[in-house]
């Protein structure tokens, strides 16, 4: 076999290996991380230490969204900033959360214009 033919075969084999290994779901561990009783919920962000902030609606109560914070150990803290919806928008490395509250929804989520 010529060196050129060997190179072509080896190159093709390398591409096959890349595509075969690409994105194997077996290496990912997914977990639902809703606050208890949430229906629905959406995270606004996660800081470098793994603390998450977001908002949720309570089951059977679609009136106002509430804020939540999920610590790295999985415990939740919920809060309301005032009357109406509470929508955290960002969390910093210390765990301080900023956001807005009010009677109407609007603004942006990560996925684009707020969909909820």
């Amino acid at each position: 076999m010529s060196q050129a033919r060997q190179a072509v075969i080896l190159g093709a084999a390398a591409v096959v290996v890349i595509l075969t290994n690409a994105g194997s779901p077996a290496t990912a561990k997914w977990k639902q991380a809703d606050p208890p009783g949430a229906y629905p919920s959406s995270p606004s962000g996660i800081n470098r230490g793994g603390t998450m902030a977001g908002y949720y609606w309570a089951t059977n109560n679609q009136n106002d969204a509430h804020g939540f914070i999920r610590s790295p150990n999985g415990s939740f803290t919920t809060f309301d900033a005032g009357t109406g919806h509470t929508i955290p928008t960002a969390i910093n490395g210390k765990g301080d959360v900023v956001g807005w509250y009010g009677p109407l929804l609007g603004g942006r989520s990560c996925a684009g214009p707020m969909a909820l």
Binding site: A22, G23, K31, P88
Partner: protein, 253 residues
């Protein structure tokens, strides 16, 4: 344009202390960004940007000769990034340095975008976000520390970067359906919550854990997810699973 959220702003400390604030006489105050020093940036009344200093003083941010200014993210060096809309209605990215100097950026090859929304900035002032082109299509973008801007799209689908860490890894979603992480060398790792039709990341921590929301078309109920381990990586050459067959990963086109 960026739609103002009709409300007041709050800041909740890690200790649980809650405070609220407004820009004086504003119809609404929206704060999308905070740094580790508790500087908050945002926009008010759908028209003006602001910085709330760690001491609580609010300073307006207005790009000269702009009809609208929005501040969206700030890093720990107090580099403030956002958007301004010029008098012709064209959106531009804006970068305000801690010394008060101001510069702007545009998307190479983009035809008069009317909306640029920076969504993430890291300690090196690398910036990522999305923009809306004049044909109402959505695209991702990435601005490096030297100021060079590239598009960051997966094929021809809408792409929404939402964060960048200090190493330069970007977390994003595309086609309103799939998440992905793009490493600094251009490798793309797609993220799809099992059995879900939509996986939309919102951020990534230093261990590579990604959070976001997922839902299925059957009920549309959105749930929060946490992915604890990254997927294996694709090369920048091979299109990731879920990307349109006709469009390979396009970075910097």
């Amino acid at each position: 344009m960026v739609r103002p959220a009709p409300g007041r702003a709050f800041l909740r400390g890690a200790d649980g202390a809650l405070s609220t604030f407004d820009v004086r006489n504003a119809r609404s105050t929206t704060p999308p960004g905070i740094n580790d020093k508790d500087a908050v940036v945002g926009y008010y009344s759908g028209t003006y940007g602001f910085l709330r200093t760690p001491k609580g003083k609010i300073k307006p941010i207005n790009v000269p000769e702009a009809q609208r200014t929005f501040a969206t993210v700030v890093n720990d060096n107090f580099v403030i990034v956002g958007e301004y809309v010029d008098l012709a209605g064209v959106g531009h990215g804006s970068v305000g340095e801690a010394d008060g100097s101001l510069s702007s950026f545009d998307i190479p090859g983009a035809d008069t975008p009317f909306d640029i929304y920076p969504r993430g900035i890291n300690s090196s002032a690398e910036i990522t976000g999305w923009y809306t082109a004049s044909d109402y299509t959505f695209h991702g973008c990435l601005r490096n520390a030297e100021g060079s801007v590239t598009r960051l799209d997966i094929g021809q689908t809408p792409t929404y970067p939402c964060g960048i860490d200090n190493e330069g890894n970007v977390v994003a979603s595309f086609d309103f359906a799939h998440g992905f992480v793009r490493t600094t060398n251009g490798q793309i790792s797609t993220l799809d919550y099992p059995e879900a039709d939509h996986t939309l990341p919102a951020g990534r921590d230093k261990k590579g854990r990604v959070t976001g929301e997922y839902y299925s078309d059957d009920d549309g109920i959105r749930h929060t997810f946490l992915m604890k381990r990254s997927l294996s990586l694709h090369t920048g050459v091979a299109p990731p699973d879920g990307a349109p067959a006709s469009g390979s990963t396009m970075v910097g086109d």
